[in-house]
Amino acid sequence: MLDIKISENAKSFLEELDDYELLKKIDNAILTLGRNPKAFPSKKIANHNPTLYRIRLPKSHRLTYQINYKKNYILIVKIGSRDKFYD
């Protein structure tokens, strides 16, 4: 089990989200990533250091995160609807 950290950017998104069902799904996904950081089909973002991964969330949302095994945490970097992402 890894510790879970969240950026201010991602936190703001969750605080402003008014779809409670989606919020519960995102919460479940984040907790799942803490248990198993490779739990979801993910794309590795090319040419980025530190390595970042992106997964799909319901309703065409995206979540970008970083895994730090050395310090035993995952960092939720960014969450948003697909129109706020480029892929």
Partner: protein
């Protein structure tokens, strides 16, 4: 033949899936999961109609299977091969029907459908199952391959979708966020900061 409103709605959904999936669906499990995700992520009003339940390979729906078989009987959907991993395709008439349905959707729904099917069609059937089992655990309870698919050993290999090249502006945005994190704009994640308690 008179089509009941319920039957019509499910037929429309199935036509939409074939039309948006380049007219090939690889197998029953994959087809069922595509319909499940459409009803759970784009058209929630269809959930009551299709009554998905947790089956041996994740969510399944008796009404959907019945209507799918009717479409095969009506020669609107056919098997490309009858091997172990059956591929299905739709007749031209049914694809045109799917195209009409797509055009009638509001712009937002069109985008949601296209993005969902674009995402999922990049995935293997195992990856689709892994996504559903993790995101909708209530449908994984009877899953025969649940433990295998959700094990860290399996998922670290199975879930690799390759690399994603982003435009410079998004890389810059991510770098800015990480810089903020390094400057202390980060906190421990706590569900209760976002979720209200339900009675």
């Amino acid at each position: 033949m008179t089509t009941s409103p319920n039957l019509k709605e499910v037929k429309e959904l199935i036509a939409l899936v074939f039309q948006q999936s380049d007219n090939v669906i690889d197998g029953n499990i994959r087809f069922t999961k595509l319909i499940f995700l459409l009803t759970h992520e784009v058209f929630p009003e269809m959930q009551e109609l299709l009554k998905f339940y947790p089956d041996n390979y994740g969510p399944n729906s008796v009404p959907m299977v019945k209507i799918f078989n009717n479409l095969i009987d009506e020669d609107l959907i056919y098997w490309l091969d009858a091997g172990k991993d059956s591929h299905y395709a739709a007749e031209e008439e049914f694809l045109k029907y799917g195209e009409e349905i797509y055009k009638r959707l509001p712009k937002d729904a069109q985008e949601e459908v296209s993005i969902l099917l674009h995402d999922i069609n990049e995935w293997t059937t195992d990856q689709v199952l892994i996504y559903i089992y993790n995101m909708y655990p209530e449908y994984a309870v009877n899953g025969r391959r649940k433990n295998e698919l959700m094990s860290p050993q399996m998922s670290s290999v199975a879930n690799n979708l390759g690399k994603l090249t982003l435009p410079e502006e998004e890389i810059q945005e991510l770098n800015d966020i990480i810089l903020e994190v390094e400057q202390g704009k980060v906190s421990d994640y706590n569900s209760s900061d976002f979720l209200i308690k339900e009675d």
